[in-house]
Homo-oligomer: 74 residues x 6
Amino acid sequence: MELWLTSLITETPQEGYELAIKMARMGVKYTQPDAEIRDKLRPKYANDPDSLTMASQVVAINFQTVAAANNYWK
Amino acid sequence: MELWLTSLITETPQEGYELAIKMARMGVKYTQPDAEIRDKLRPKYANDPDSLTMASQVVAINFQTVAAANNYWK
Amino acid sequence: MELWLTSLITETPQEGYELAIKMARMGVKYTQPDAEIRDKLRPKYANDPDSLTMASQVVAINFQTVAAANNYWK
Amino acid sequence: MELWLTSLITETPQEGYELAIKMARMGVKYTQPDAEIRDKLRPKYANDPDSLTMASQVVAINFQTVAAANNYWK
Amino acid sequence: MELWLTSLITETPQEGYELAIKMARMGVKYTQPDAEIRDKLRPKYANDPDSLTMASQVVAINFQTVAAANNYWK
Amino acid sequence: MELWLTSLITETPQEGYELAIKMARMGVKYTQPDAEIRDKLRPKYANDPDSLTMASQVVAINFQTVAAANNYWK
């Protein structure tokens, strides 16, 4: 896997949230490394409300980690 | 994505809870940026009790982060 | 939304647990504000064991926050 | 609801785990207060492996809270 | 229930992870105490990828508790 | 089980994330030790978007533990 996570520190909460999204997506990529397959799956979950909620939940869990790492940007 | 998360600090617990809701919805929006599609999906999950419970759970996870950031408004 | 969450501090663990229940329900209410629809959905999830377990889980997550806010009532 | 949660402090980790089980069950009871209905639902989830895993998960989340309250019985 | 959880302290991270597995299984056992039934359910979830992921998740949650109790074996 | 988890400390966040993946997979392996069966299940969950999201979630939970153990690599 290429280098993609060098630090949990971000300048702003929003950048931290976007890092949490990246982490959620990388969790998928490690399990399904084939980009073509991931692209084919996208319409399915992007149009299923429960799939979208589940995706938002993984981001929320990763954001807890990023926010703690940044001392909540205080 | 527009600027939407500049701080985790809120004046009251309820504002913090509402920020957690916003974060949960933004998690969906990053995955499904098309507002029209999101609006079409709304009736489906807003009338499914398990979908509503799942949505409440994502808020609960985000609220943990917001509450910690605000030192629980103590 | 009316004012409903002014503090995470409660006198006893049980009141804290009941606040966590309130928070879980408010998470649903923000997504489905129509009380009549929520009432219609109630029999469905109140008679489904997995729905009940999921509801208990959201309470457990909210209770983590409330308990931390109250320093575990020590 | 009767008084059932007066303290998160227990003498041993196992008592703490059993309190976490009690908390998980009370989360169900608040949503479905009818004991007869809960008894009828029991065979369904007690024979479904995923339901049992979900139940164990709610206990795990509550145990995190109880363990922290007891400073991990150190 | 027999005595099974006397301490969260383990000598190594791996022993801690294995304690977390034990805790996840005990969560199931408290809900379904009949060993024969649990054995019958095993093939079902041991051959279902989502059931296996859910089981791994409960272990992950319990491991958070065990790792904190051991100060992360630092 | 062979020795596989001797420390939660890693040099970089990405190595920590990859350890979290390893932990998630070991959680599966303890429940389903037969590598041939696990290989047969792989195509099923690697092509199901919700299964992939669930897998990413278990990684996220384990990463919380690893990140805390490493003091967030600060």
